[in-house]
């Protein structure tokens, strides 16, 4: 112990220097947006390779619940296939089937695994094991079997970080599935099971249990993907708008298998839009 104090006394100036520099770095990384994201993005190689090693171990513990989820999703997909087959049969009779064949597949799904996630902070991020090598780019939409997960916020060669719905800086344009009234989905940082939908005008008909889906207002994202259900209907303090408590469809505590949605026509759209500027 005494040696420790001797050490402190001998290197007091150097320690003071380290403390001051620590303070400065704290300022740098807290108040400069660029530096914050650069540091936060766990896309960086060291963290990610650690996470994927850790994931290699913990992977096996999730197999049971992952299986259940997959079986459930399979069943849903089979139902959809049978429904679509029926519709196709109907269309064949009317001769409109050529129209279908001409339409291009607009969205492409890239399956990925979540290798790191947090839900207990106000700014949560997820890391997935696919990156630019697999065709993932910034701002792509991420879903899983149950609903919306978030947006790709940073990408490296083999990994990407996702800004999930449970991040206080996430704002997603959503709508009521039945009436198409639009609103903003925000997260208040309290529980990863719930989020808030705001800006819904008070003349819209809402009821507990109504589904909330993505609005597709930003044309990069598919429309109508389930976000959650209304859990509680409140009025905004200032009046005029609802403040709906939404139970999220995705369980962010156990999210593991996700799909990143690639918009095949995004580059074409961006190119066209950039011509206007």
């Amino acid at each position: 112990m005494r040696n420790f104090f001797y050490f402190l006394a001998r290197h007091a100036t150097f320690l003071f220097f380290l403390i001051l520099e620590g303070l400065c770095l704290l300022l740098v990384f807290n108040f400069n947006d660029y530096h914050k994201t650069a540091l936060l993005s766990s896309s960086n190689a060291i963290c990610s390779s650690y996470y994927s090693a850790q994931d290699g171990v913990s992977h096996y513990f999730h197999l049971g619940s992952a299986n259940e989820q997959l079986v459930e999703e399979n069943a849903q997909l089979r139902n959809q296939i049978s429904l679509l087959k029926q519709q196709l049969e109907l269309l064949k009779d009317t001769g409109n089937v050529k129209l279908l064949a001409d339409s291009i597949q607009k969205y492409h799904y890239i399956a990925a695994h979540v290798i790191n996630s947090s839900t207990n902070r106000s700014r949560n991020y997820l890391t997935i094991d696919k990156g630019t090598k697999n065709g993932i780019q910034r701002d792509m939409f991420v879903i899983n079997g149950s609903g919306v997960v978030g947006l790709v916020s940073a990408v490296s060669t083999h990994y990407a970080t996702i800004l999930p719905l449970v991040n206080t800086s996430m704002h997603l344009s959503v709508k009521l599935a039945h009436t198409n009234y639009r609103g903003q989905l925000i997260w208040n940082g309290v529980s990863p099971k719930y989020a808030l939908m705001v800006d819904v005008p008070e003349h819209a008909a809402v009821a507990v249990g109504d589904s909330i889906v993505t609005s597709g207002s930003s044309s990069f994202f598919p429309e109508g993907i389930l976000v959650g259900q209304i859990d509680e209907v409140n009025m905004d303090k200032n009046g005029g708008f609802y403040r709906l408590n939404i139970q999220l469809a995705t369980d962010f505590n156990s999210v593991y298998d996700v799909e990143v949605i690639e918009n095949k026509q995004q580059t074409e759209q961006r190119l066209l839009e950039s011509k206007n500027n």
């Binding site: 003071f16 001051l20 400065c24 300022l27 108040f31 400069n32």
Partner: protein, 174 residues
């Protein structure tokens, strides 16, 4: 010592005003951003203890940060040269000891000595500042070019400033 403190306070105010009003608005080229305000840290008395030097450096850095909207970056670079100043001074020292009361300037040990001193300090400061500002290994070479060009301009400004600083009383006696 008290006359020194008054001099440093005046120098501090003048340097901050010059940096914020003139040097920050100097648009020579995107690659040249002189930060001559570190003259304050260079001119602190030889005998000032390193912790106090770092505190003065921190205050100057934070003042610039406040107006440049770069929280912490200038402060980081300034504290770094505040700490390294003792070693730089030792490194370029003559055989005789520094007079702890006098302020480092061209008049104390001549232009060559001061140019060496200023060059080392400016390069360290700019290196730390520009790299923490960039914080991306992608632009290593352009950043290095910025550091070199900006350092040269800053050093020239510091040397020119020496001709405007009143002669230090203690040094002029001998």
């Amino acid at each position: 010592m008290s006359s020194n403190s008054i001099k440093i306070v005046i120098l501090f105010i003048v340097c901050m005003l010059l940096q914020l009003l003139i040097f920050n608005n100097l648009q020579i080229s995107g690659f040249i951003n002189p930060y001559a305000y570190i003259l304050v840290i260079l001119t602190l008395p030889f005998g000032l203890s390193t912790p106090l030097t770092m505190v003065v450096a921190l205050v100057s850095g934070l003042t610039i940060d406040l107006f440049c909207n770069t929280p912490g970056m200038h402060a980081f670079a300034c504290v770094l040269i505040g700490y390294l100043r003792q070693y730089v001074l030792k490194f370029i020292a003559f055989r005789e000891e520094y007079k702890s009361d006098s302020l480092p300037s061209m008049n104390t040990y001549g232009l060559i000595w001061y140019a060496k001193y200023a060059a080392i300090m400016v390069v360290i400061h700019h290196f730390a500042l520009f790299f923490i500002e960039q914080f991306d290994s992608l632009f290593f070479w352009p950043t290095l070019l910025r550091i070199i060009l900006s350092s040269i301009v800053t050093i020239i400004f510091l040397l020119v400033a020496q001709f405007f600083i009143p002669r230090d009383g203690a040094a002029s006696i001998d």
